[in-house]
Amino acid sequence: MPEPAPFDEAALVARARSGDDSAFGDLVNHYERRIFRLAKNITQNDEDAEDVLQESFMKAYGHLDTFHGNSKFYTWLVRIAVNEALMKLRKRKTDKTVSLDEQLDTGEDTLVREIAVWDDNPEQLYSQDEIREILDKAVASLEPIYSSVFQLRDVEELSTEETAEALNISVPAVKSRLLRARLQLREKLTRFFQRKGDDVFAYL
């Protein structure tokens, strides 16, 4: 079987902009799952996430001529998707404006309740399907302002600056949300990953 061609975002975008629909199709294939995951984490249901997925790619296709390549295509796409997802949330909660920029930080310190040592390779305690389920559920249980930052920074490994640009929030906001997201996830995963047979109190 021939090796699949390496993914070259800039080249595909250039071809798509010049009217090559198959190049746009390749961009969709490459990013659809990530956009769906992000949309689902924000809207927290499949139906809204599907709408967001469709509307995002339709808008990206319709507005390709306004994309000037100052940022990465993916950052631009995430920005569209986040706007669409927030619109969904706004429709649901008509009494309240929703934005990823709102300050939900109460100034309360990041809480740490679980102090238990984990296994060295905790992911080996479970099958791949189980691990995926555990991780997906843990992220899904975070507030959207945390899960979106975490997904972009720590799962997809965008830089702090790219994450800030994609979510339209400041760099310090990315950092403080990332800290909270990481500590909350650590807390949620402890139940699954702590070393069995350990006396928790031995570490207090």
Binding site: G19, D21, F24, G25, V28, E32, R33, R34, F36, R37, D46, E50, L53, Q54, F57, M58, Y61, G62, D109, T110, V112, I115, A116, V117, W118, P122, E123, I131, R132, L135, D136, V139, F150, D154, V155, E157, K175, L178, L179, R182, L183, L185, R186, L189, T190, F193, Y203, L204
Partner: protein, 96 residues
């Protein structure tokens, strides 16, 4: 002297290696002396490790089919629009 609270506030930057040298030294000192903070540090590091690069799940095929249908329609509409524009331009060129 760093407190555990200070340590927690910095643990994310400490893991990313983005804090300055003096802070890094203080954090290292604290994490080596405080068993609780060491556990938090180590388990947060492992949290990042399990998530890093996690591939998203395949799209359910029905969702994917509907996405492709919607896009194909939109692409066809755009093509149609373009060819209308072209023929309009041609006819304008022909009349001028």
């Amino acid at each position: 002297m760093l407190t555990c609270k200070d340590f927690l506030r910095q643990v994310s930057e400490f893991l990313d290696g983005t804090c300055d040298q003096a802070m890094k030294r203080d954090l290292e000192k604290h994490v080596n002396e405080c068993p609780n903070c060491w556990v938090v540090f180590d388990t947060t590091k492992k949290t990042l490790k399990v998530f890093k690069g996690m591939e998203p799940k395949e799209l359910p095929s029905a969702i994917r089919d509907r996405l492709m249908n919607a896009l194909t329609k939109k692409m066809a509409a755009k093509k149609c629009e373009r060819s209308h524009q072209d023929s309009h331009e041609h006819s304008e060129a022909a009349t001028s």
